[in-house]
Point group: C2
Chain length 368, copies 2
């Protein structure tokens, strides 16, 4: 293999496929990147067997071939080289010769045949969605996936497509995030995509409105971003019926400025985090919301003007779960809906029915 | 005590005096900041007994008084408040009431009498130096102080003023950094200032050419930055005679582009850090410097054009120590002076005699 390739292009693409490489992989070959040179393209692949990322770069291929090279050192070297043309050449002993300007590196590679092949995905079932919209969907939901493995299915987000509506839902037993968008799809789809896959896809997605194709098999999902392809296993198992959790009835409906409530909770949580459960208390009373919190070193009292429809309510939350949701809402005003102080609070952007965030309250001992 | 003060001013000043607070102080009161309101000024103090920082803010003092409040939570609260006027009020039980907009905090304080007093410094011996010049002196030397306590005196930098020349010197047994500047001083001074003090002073110093006064007693140094005062203990003991270490003789003198050698060593160190001692080898030969390094996973070869006066030389270094010095040199070209491969290498900016960086070589086994 012998190729010539601009440093900035190669460095950018290594950065993309490295997101597929797990630092704690048990199989040594998986700490490497697969390089394949063919038809004036260099194809890079990184995978941890759950998630695989490939990207193609146009370049000058003098001799076709392939090699596996340790991901971290390869990325570090290419990043530090000057922005000039890099020549990569493999010798018969799998040594990778990297030269650029007056720098020459020789790095020991491994034979490409030992690298696992990514699964083949045919595109029988697929949807198209604008990149920026997919990025928003992921940003508003993926953070709510479970971080521990006690219920593996909850480490993923459910993507459910019915009647040209795509719902992406994540929940972890404390809160739930749901985003609905319109799509064109001839078939219905119901899959659970690992949270890590969504997060990595989101990092690679550019902020434009060109389309990404998403293809599905019974076991895998493929995101086609143009030069870059992300393939991931799906999670197996039954996801919770999220529609049962989100009830539309309410006894109190509060309209409030998003930024004001976010900043008040942030301040209250300075004391809450020193106490138990990050606890902040809400007191919805007539035309204001009072947020309080206390710990051994003191207490805090915040007041925010609101528009209330329905009953007054006193309820307490873990401030972290509240803030996680408020941080991903872009609208200026939100609506909080309450049934009682033992039922979840539902948060919607006031002008946008397509996003729902639900938080369970914390029951207070003194209320019993 | 009762004062009114703008949020942005107070937040900025807390940030300054917090640099005097040690997170691992054994005396609980030292995790607090001392607040003293008097004569329409609020004075803030933070200290770990080695280093003390005070700053004064103009403000509206309605009731004079003083209090100690836990540094971290106070700073976090003030930072998160809106940029409006803050009212601080102390009640008879040492509770600090902080109100701003519709936010109210009550934080438990401690009586100011329990807070240690900073030493009084008279200004019998003092010098003046422009802030930006002092900042440069510290940036170019303080990093070379010893980080471990085996020889405590080396955790500080020697400030030696003789004949209107101020030399700031730091060394740790592997390298030495020396900066000379012209000052006006009627008396000679020789003190060792803790590296931490210099680093914190540097962080507070603004980038302008107004003067800072530095005052000395036999045990303390005081930096007067205007509204902010930094007082620090000096280190006791005999500093090494650095002039004996820097020899002016040489057998080889190499002129080289600063950025080129820095980037080459950075690349070489990618492999060096995986091997022993961060080892990079220099081969000065005629009109080029070749830098090489190797480890189990490969090797690197870099070439840089030079102007050589004197003999060829082969010598090896710890790349980290080389890079530390190269990173603080602003000149485009440097001169490296060598005696032999077992003597230190001396680095000067080619057009600036006032900065000297010296690195000990690493002896290679195969050379014996």
């Amino acid at each position: 293999m012998k190729v010539k390739i601009p440093q900035n292009k190669l460095s950018k693409c290594i950065n993309i496929v490295q997101k597929g490489v797990s630092p704690k992989s048990t199989l040594p070959i998986l700490s490497g990147l697969l390089l394949e040179a063919k038809n004036n393209k260099l194809k890079l692949t990184g995978t941890d067997l759950q998630l695989g990322i490939t990207t193609n770069i146009d370049c000058e291929v003098e001799i076709e071939g392939s090699i596996v090279i340790e991901s971290k050192i390869f990325g570090d070297i290419i990043k530090k080289l000057p922005n000039k043309e890099i020549e990569l050449e493999i010798d018969d002993s799998n040594n990778v010769h990297i030269s650029c300007g007056s720098s020459d590196f020789n790095i020991i590679g491994q034979p490409a045949v030992e690298y696992p092949q990514l699964p083949k995905i045919d595109d029988e079932t697929s949807i198209e969605i604008p990149k920026d919209l997919l990025k928003t969907m992921i940003r508003q939901t993926a953070f709510a996936t479970a971080q521990d493995e006690t219920r593996p299915i909850l480490t993923g987000a459910l993507l459910e497509i019915t009647d040209n509506n795509a719902a992406l839902v994540a929940l972890d037993g404390y809160r739930l995030a749901l985003k609905n968008v319109k799509v064109n799809s001839s078939t219905d789809i119901k899959v659970v995509i690992p949270g890590k896959t969504l997060t990595e896809v989101s990092k690679i997605l550019e902020e434009d409105d060109s389309n990404v194709s998403i293809m599905f098999t019974s076991s895998h999902v493929l995101f086609d971003l143009g030069d870059t392809i992300v393939i991931s296993r799906l999670l197996e198992g039954q996801f919770l019926n999220y529609k049962d959790i989100i009830r539309n009835e309410y006894k109190s409906k509060v309209k409030i400025n998003t930024n004001e409530i976010k900043q008040s909770i942030e301040r209250a949580s300075l004391l809450a985090r020193e106490g138990r459960n990050n606890l902040v208390k809400f007191d919805v009373n007539d035309d204001k919301l009072t947020i309080t919190s206390n710990s051994e070193i003191g207490n805090v009292h915040e007041e925010i003007p609101i528009t209330l429809e329905g009953n007054d309510v006193k309820i307490a939350f873990n401030s972290k779960y509240m803030l996680d949701g408020l941080k991903v809402i872009d609208s200026e005003e939100i609506t909080l809906s309450f049934i009682s102080n033992v039922n979840p609070c539902i948060i919607n952007p006031t002008e946008d029915e397509n996003y729902t965030y639900l938080v369970l309250p914390v029951r207070l001992a003194e209320e019993h």
